[in-house]
Symmetry: C2
Subunit: 685 residues, 2 copies
């Protein structure tokens, strides 16, 4: 544990890189990097195993900066460590199209494990990374082959601790006894509003102990490098609890404004920088300076990391000889590709098959595919029996000491913690060995909006099994009946929202969700039974939209999703019999997938020359993109038996027909009706 002047030099180098970069950008957060530079240096230069030449090495230690606004700290470390991040990249901090954006983005920047910034997400991601590590160890480690044993480190600040998502994740982490998770709490007493005593006076140590965490404290987080290293090592030794180190630091250490919120969220003044560089023994006229001896000690540590990886690769080679199929499975998983032929296990249906609730159809899919896709790891936010997310033979992911499951278990009991579930899924997916799915009611995916947004932004394959997807849930009433939810997530870029209408559409939704490596999916599923449709096939549903019922002489196209498609099919008969109108029916289970089909196909589904009416029992917002008129529910629902609720709001063949007649009438004088598929120009995507 010998620390010397070069360590101090390295720490001050990191501080000044953050100072210079925020000054150049005239924006950003110098305070946290300056305060956390010492512990960051200890961690990155003395503790963590990583190889910058192979940032994807499976058994590398993971680092998450939950207080993502302090990202200049992370960028500085990645640069020193030798990742693909140059001094020029640091100079381009917060500039358009740089790899050093205002908050760290995993898909842009090598060495950034997860995208952080929205507070509380990172620590929950870290819990996910740690779960994945424990799970992979449970699945792949063998006697004599401790293939997977990395640690997950997470820095977080007061803001993260105040966010509910962090509380949810921390409580679950304690329950799960995630020994390889070590968090460092930057206890600097400052938030944007000033001293933490204006809103945050809880006893954090006691709180984390109540969750079942091990807690260490380091009182001098500015200078006591040996103390920090000792604390981290003590935490490493605690194998049956996650650990937190409460580290007392001074925000903006060295600045004239140190210890105040003045250094939190804006660049230091020129004068302040001058005195700071003087104090640290740097040339006040130079910027972005990295002394060679600092590079040297980081090169040395990275070389050690590379050597450790080389050793590990040898271990993997030996493992491959002894455990060929496990090794092959592991290597395949890391490519992100599914096992060949897995899709043959997807159930297919014909119109004569029974009507089945799509949540049940989803259960059948999971039951059929779980053994051909061993990386599928699911769970539910305490609605297992309602979401139907657990296959019969599933083993729970639990610490073996609980007697309730084991580390290799593939079913996670998330508790009533939707937001943490979403953020943990992001961490699970980022680890590389599993594909996560999680169940809750569609309405409560909204609780996790912050995490879903980050799945989409950071291009993560996470799957939401979102049951009870409409007023069709019936008696639970308006508090549980989604109205705005589909519009919300359809408006979110890079997020697939599926609302399958029958068995084949449900299988198609899973097919696309599972094979889309860089996009999250929300699969909205019914509580009530749905009939199997005439022209529904996996192939057609995989196009995101298709014709369920064709009629070349139709007066109108009815366009619908999920539970309303079957009612539209019934409306076709009603329209013919009562109004002598012919109707086509189109199902669009997924806007996002339909949108990327070629225009000719889309126009064949939604052709020119005929008016169209959308039918979906929730907000009509967004349907104007596909149809001329919209029938939906731009109000809250009602508590009652689902058939009564549908009837109240006229989602019946009669109610649909009434609006179809109005639509035909309204459009009858328009010559050459243009399909909404035709647009004046392409959108930016």
């Amino acid at each position: 544990m010998g620390y010397s002047d070069v360590d101090t030099l390295a720490i001050n180098t990191i501080r000044l890189l953050a100072v210079d970069a925020t000054f150049k950008a005239n924006s950003g957060h110098p305070g946290a990097p300056m305060g956390m530079a010492p512990v960051a240096h200890v961690l990155f230069n003395k503790i963590m195993n990583y190889n910058p030449k192979n940032p994807k090495w499976l058994n590398r230690d993971r680092f998450v900066l939950s207080n993502g606004h302090g990202c200049m700290l992370q960028y500085a470390l990645l640069h020193l460590a030798g990742y693909k991040l140059s001094l020029d990249d640091l100079k381009a901090f917060r500039h358009i199209d740089s790899i050093t954006p205002g908050h760290p983005e995993a898909h842009d920047t090598e060495g950034v494990e997860v995208t952080t910034g929205p507070l509380g997400q990172g620590i929950a991601n870290a819990v996910g990374l740690a779960i994945a590590q424990h799970h992979a160890a449970g699945e792949f480690n063998k006697p004599g082959f401790e293939l997977i044993n990395n640690y997950t480190y997470c820095f977080l600040g007061d803001g993260c601790l105040q966010e509910g998502v962090a509380s949810e994740a921390a409580s679950l982490a304690g329950h799960l006894q995630l020994g390889n998770l070590i968090a460092v709490y930057d206890d600097n007493h400052i938030t944007i509003d000033g001293d933490t005593n204006v809103s945050f006076t809880e006893d954090v140590t006691m709180r984390f102990k109540s969750y079942g965490w091990h807690v260490e404290e380091v009182v001098d987080g500015n200078n006591d490098l040996a103390g920090m290293e000792a604390a981290i090592k003590k935490c490493q030794a605690v194998k049956d609890k996650p650990s937190m180190i409460k580290l007392r630091t001074i925000i903006g250490y060295g600045s004239l404004q140190q210890g105040t919120h003045g250094v939190h969220g804006s660049a230091l003044k020129a004068d302040d920088i001058k005195q700071l560089k003087g104090k640290f023994g740097f040339d006040a006229d130079k910027t972005f300076v990295v002394p060679q001896e600092v590079y040297d000690i980081y090169n040395k540590h990275s070389s050690e990391g590379a050597a450790k990886e080389a050793e590990w690769e040898k271990l993997l080679e030996k493992y491959t000889q002894s455990y060929a199929s496990e090794a092959a499975d592991l290597k395949r998983r890391l490519t992100g590709k599914l096992p060949e032929g897995w899709e043959k296990s997807l159930p297919v249906y014909s119109p004569s098959d029974d009507a089945v609730a799509s949540r049940k159809l989803s259960e059948i899919v999971l039951q059929k595919i779980h053994d051909v896709i061993p990386e599928l790891v699911g769970g539910s936010a305490d609605l297992t029996g309602s979401n139907l997310t657990r296959w019969k033979e599933a083993v729970d992911f639990q610490p073996p000491s609980t007697g309730l499951g084991d580390w290799s278990g593939r079913y996670i009991r998330y508790g009533v913690r939707e937001h943490a579930m979403g953020a943990i899924m992001n961490g699970l997916a980022a680890y590389g060995t599993v594909i996560p799915y999680g169940g809750t009611f569609l309405n409560f995916v909204s609780y996790a909006a912050g995490a879903v947004r980050l799945s989409a932004l950071s291009q993560i394959r996470a799957i939401w099994v979102a049951t009870h997807d409409s007023i069709g849930l019936g008696e639970d009433g308006p508090t549980h009946q989604p109205i705005e939810t589909l519009a919300h997530f359809r408006a979110l870029p890079n997020c697939m929202v599926w609302r399958p209408a029958d068995g084949n559409e449900t299988s198609a939704a899973y097919y696309i969700a599972l094979t889309s490596q860089h996009t999250p999916s929300i699969i909205a599923l019914s509580r009530q039974n749905l009939p199997q449709l005439e022209n529904s096939t996996l192939a057609s549903a995989m196009k995101g939209g298709y014709v369920v019922h064709e009629d070349k002489k139709a007066d109108i196209t009815l366009v619908s999703t999920g539970s309303e498609v079957g009612i539209c099919v019934d409306a076709v008969k009603y329209l013919k019999e009562k109004h002598n109108l012919a109707a086509r029916v189109v199902s669009i289970p997924c806007f996002e997938v339909f949108d990327v089909q070629d225009k000719e196909y889309r126009l064949s589904v939604l052709p020119d020359g005929i008016p169209s009416l959308s039918v979906e029992v929730m907000s009509t917002m967004g349907w104007e993109r596909y149809t001329h008129e919209q029938f939906g529910l731009n109000r809250f629902g009602a508590s009652g038996a689902y058939k009564d609720v549908y009837k109240k709001f006229e989602f019946t063949p009669e109610g649909i027909s009434k609006r179809a007649v109005a639509t035909v009438d309204f459009w009858k004088d328009v010559p050459n009706i243009r399909s909404p598929i035709n647009r004046a120009f392409q959108q930016l995507i």
Copy 2:
């Protein structure tokens, strides 16, 4: 504290009402009502002050059922206590259009203070109610006049405790030393997924102590009525901390399945009900039975409550004599109406005024109106200096012992707790004496989606000051730049989303938000400066949409909001000069308000015969309802100076013009272009 057989009878009556109602509805949650009936009886029959004849009595004790799925408990109590809730209403449990829906809804059912069911919300609402009580006491109580001293009681279960929103609220409640808040935790060891040991093994007592709560425990929550009463009274006596009673109960007490999740979420079987009624000494063949002696003890307690209210009204009368203006202010506030003439304080602007960021314009509004609207109580989720939510003279709402403010303070430091802030605002508004507003970045209103939804459903006037409302926030980058957020909340029924373009529009947004007693508002505000527009007036902006720049011979209408309206105005010139096209410009700061204007007016703004193009730097979803073509951002943003980001995505006069030209070209062959305002039929609202 004498408890006798009639108390047991009352408790079993409550249990059986819940059993009969869920059986009749064939749906619902009997377990929690059966387990919590004893403590509920103690609370409603021995402790709480209320008068069912005046459910709006200001100083009544408040009751919140955070585990709202157990609402048959609440309905049974309201019935016994003499609220407007008959046996027939109990029989209509979970039936269409009843006042006894599947979860309690405040706007439907007298005696229900807040709408609950989505877990975690209720306890956060209770924190809001308790803050409002402490605040009102701080404002209105005078020596000799303890006008306001009610308690807020809240029941909650494991599910609520797992939700992050509850953690956020509980931490803040501890910080704020809310002595009049008493929570009862139904520690029944059961959630939907089974025993709590599958996911929830934290030490709840220690956790709440870490937040600064006082904790009592009652080990026999099924029988120890005196113990429950004693615990509640001990909590009442603790004046400087909120209190929690950890009550060990058996879910579904008395059922053959008691203590299992089998009684959580579905009706008991007929046989089970039979044995239960036998065990409790009730006639197994009768349903919905209330023995007269049970009514009698509840009538007695309600009469005592009425007497207490009468006494209080006398106190108020005396108070009115001594403190006339305070009394008048209080009485006015309870009507929900603002002081006469307050609107004269709203700032107005003319086109020659400086360009100002709309977040700054919002600050000016708050500065100007705070002393004419004394019930305005604001705060921020730790972004005060960015949201600009605090007027200069503001005093913080803080326990006086902290030295940081006092109970009458009108500025709440929420900490980084957006979701709790939303739910607390719902509680604040429900109390009756304040109008709450809260600030955060627009992107992080999504963290509070669950609470915003309940504001809308339960018709609560809460105002979000949502700054940094687009890619215009610049350097913070995509993690902080909203894309889907406006579409999300525009799709939410009964929620006004404002995006003002200048000073007058900002004032108009506040006017409508403050005078809409039954609707929440989200006011999206820019970080960057915006010019004052030509035809913008308070009156026009209050219509939700109006013509900013008219041209009777225009080739196209540009329709926009917020920061893009000014760019559209610049595009008019560009289009004229470079393309010889004439353009009108329309601003629609609020869809919801524009939608309720008469059709003639809406058609004057968005007329037939001319194509239209919307311009907004976020998801185009929803704009098809107003315009023929849409220019927006259906992808994530970028980190950089805001002008660079706007340029990258072509939100410039040139970029808009390019799309305007394409729009004119695309629509030129269509005769009699129809405004999207024309629809085939009315939507259900």
